[in-house]
């Protein structure tokens, strides 16, 4: 293609019509820049929102088959529904060890942590505060990003130690090393020591109290575990993975974060739809611009096309001259557009004071480039058709 005479003529036509060529390339570049900038921005915003929602939470929760939806995930449901029995056998996975064994073979899964969930009370200074208790292993602490978010003390759980969320710690004026009484709903109490205070950014997360898995099991009288919490590599694949596993296991159910955050997902989906609508119209307007400019060029170059056809250029070759022009414009315009989009994104993130990143992948660069090349090539089909249908004799006869 690039060594053909059609390509040579196409490039020369573009080179000689500099003004038109520059204008149309700028038009495509702007369209691609907007497309790239918007999709990167939206992706950054979505990634940030999703990260805040599930970055420090399980993506898939393995629950007993007949537990009520959402009940066990205490982090999201700050107040456990008192109508539901907490220690019922129905809310436990008794033979839980097989699940982590099975799940850890899956490359799509990042971390697996058994958990015991329940509620309790803390009495301090005459105040009784209800708390959500979570018994986890070290893996579970990592899942909730506790080690990186300790603001006092250390992220270690052993024996009678516990880690407190900032919200609870502030309310009870707790600091590392403090000892206090923790009661379960049966009124049984234990002494625990505040080993650390964490701040993981979310309201629900900072309302948690972490205990070691074994301590929580004995304190909350859970024979097995309440749930198995799983994080996956691709957050958005969680629902699909959960559904895949749900088919293979009957005694437990797999609940994805998506199924518990329908509203957030709907909002993200609406946002994506509106962005895609804008992008669609940007592409349409670019295509119309290219079709119109190349259409004018086809009329302007009638004389040249006529003489080329008299010398033996076929209809297909005449059409190719315009299709190649469309493609070249798309390629050049989109290349410049991506550079402009990157510059725009850099300026936006660094100077507009937004609190989310500018997230882009190779796909976000390649997609607008392919779309722009495709749109401009398709737009050039109109003048190409005109060029193909031109009769050399019309040009020769009319001078």
């Amino acid at each position: 293609m690039f060594r053909s005479y059609e390509w040579m003529i196409a490039l020369r036509f573009l080179k000689k019509g500099k003004g038109q060529t520059v204008l149309i390339i700028l038009g495509i570049a702007m369209g691609v820049a907007v497309q790239f900038f918007l999709s990167s921005l939206m992706s950054g915003l979505q990634t940030s929102l999703v990260d805040r929602t599930v970055g420090a939470a399980p993506h898939i929760t393995v629950l007993p088959a007949d537990s009520l939806p959402g009940y066990v995930s205490g982090a999201q449901k700050a107040s456990s529904d008192s109508r539901n029995p907490i220690y019922s056998e129905k809310t436990e996975i008794l033979s839980w060890q097989q699940y982590p064994e099975d799940l850890k073979k899956d490359g799509a899964i990042k971390s697996i942590s058994p958990a015991v969930n329940g509620s309790g009370f803390i009495e301090r200074g005459g105040v009784t505060v209800p708390v959500i208790l979570k018994g986890v292993t070290d893996e579970g602490l990592k899942l909730y990003k506790i080690p990186g978010n300790i603001i006092a003390g250390k992220a270690e759980l052993s024996g009678d130690s516990a880690l407190f969320g900032k919200k609870i710690a502030d309310r009870l004026s707790l600091s590392a090393g403090d000892k206090l009484n923790l009661k379960n709903e049966r009124g049984e109490q234990i002494f625990v020591q505040v080993n650390g205070v964490f701040d993981i950014g979310s309201e629900a997360g900072n309302g948690l109290v972490f205990l070691s898995l074994d301590r929580a099991r004995s304190f909350l009288r859970v024979g097995g575990v309440s749930s198995i919490e799983v994080q996956v590599v691709d957050v958005f694949a969680a629902d699909k993975i959960a559904k895949r596993y749900a088919k293979g296991y009957t005694r437990v159910k797999f609940e994805s974060w998506q199924s518990k955050n329908r509203e957030l997902l709907q909002a993200l989906s609406a946002q994506s739809s509106s962005t895609n609508t804008i992008l669609f119209f940007v592409i349409i307007s670019i295509s119309l611009g290219i079709a119109s400019v190349l259409g004018i060029a086809a009329v302007q170059k009638q004389r040249q096309l006529g003489i080329l056809k008299a010398m033996g250029t076929s209809n297909v070759s005449a059409a190719k001259i315009f299709i190649y022009q469309g493609f070249a414009l798309g390629l050049l315009g989109s290349f410049l557009g991506v550079l402009a989009g990157l510059a725009l994104g850099y300026m936006f993130v660094n100077f507009a004071g937004v609190n989310f990143g500018f997230d882009f992948s190779a796909g976000m660069i390649i997609t607008p480039v392919i779309l722009a090349c495709l749109a401009s090539t398709l737009a050039s089909l109109i003048p190409a058709r005109k060029a193909a249908g031109l009769s050399p004799i019309e040009v020769i006869r009319n001078g």
Binding site: R3, S4, Y5, M8, I9, R12, F13, K15, K16, R303, Q304, G306, I307, L308, K309, A310, M311, G312, T313, S314, N315, V316, S317, P392, I393, I396, R397, G399
Partner: protein, 249 residues
């Protein structure tokens, strides 16, 4: 035996359709010998350019047969005709029709490019030899707007010759040139035509140019009025026959 490169039989050309029709050519029969120079003359509107365009396969006749190099061309599809024109036919037009986006040398190479793609070094050398031969080598990097009318016409002659065609059609190639330049261009075309053993068919208004051909074919109202063979009629005989046609000059 006569070696005809073109044999046209009963060529009719009608423009328009339905009630609005205009017949421009009526039952034209014409043979063109290889290695010959045929001049088509006639008053304006006599159909000489239309006949040239039909013979050059640019404008299909409404009816009739055009055999070139022993092969029937009438009725062939557009792409076959395009390929045939590129392979076998060279064109020189009154208005030169160079591509303004390309230099003189690049314009000359275009018929080769159409056929084979990018020209290799030996073909570029060949084009440069042609340019030298017709005295425009110094203009090889110039664009259309940077050359005189005569230089542009020489470029278009070189372009017509680059693929070594069997047939060269020229429609008033000297019409836009002054007498001296026109004469030089004509001599050049005749020389190269003889060297290449090709047939030159030229439309002209100029009786003096027509008298330099091997055969003058005169059209009036879309019909061949007469055909004068200069080899048999001689220059003076032909001049005498054409002198009462001073309106063509």
């Amino acid at each position: 035996m006569v070696d005809n490169v073109i044999s046209a039989k009963n060529i009719n050309k009608v423009y328009g359709s339905g009630k609005i029709k205009a017949q421009v050519l009526f039952d034209i029969n014409l043979d063109v010998e290889r290695n010959s120079f045929t001049a088509l003359i006639g008053p304006s509107g006599s159909g000489k350019s239309t006949l040239l365009n039909c013979l050059a396969l640019l404008d299909p006749p409404t009816s009739g047969s055009i055999v070139i190099d022993g092969k029937e061309q009438a009725g062939k599809d557009v792409n076959s005709l395009s390929k045939f024109r590129n392979d076998r036919i060279g064109f020189v037009f009154q208005f030169h029709y160079l591509l303004p986006e390309f230099t003189a040398l690049e314009n000359i190479l275009i018929p080769y490019n159409i056929r084979h793609g990018k020209a290799p070094a030996n073909i570029v050398k060949e084009a440069e030899r042609l340019m030298e031969r017709i005295g425009i080598l110094g203009e090889k990097h110039k664009y259309q707007g940077e050359m005189s009318g005569g230089q542009q016409q020489r470029v278009s002659i070189a372009r017509a010759l680059i693929n070594k065609p069997a047939l060269i059609f020229a429609d008033e190639p000297t019409g836009n040139l002054d007498t001296e330049t026109g004469g030089a261009v004509l001599s050049l075309m005749k020389e190269i035509n003889a060297e290449n053993n090709s047939a030159l068919v030229m439309v002209t208004h100029d009786r003096d140019i027509a008298l330099q051909s091997d055969r003058v074919v005169e059209l009036v109202n879309g019909r061949i009025w007469r055909s004068i063979n200069l080899k048999t009629a001689g220059f003076q005989g032909a001049e005498k026959q054409l002198e009462n046609r001073s309106c063509y000059t």
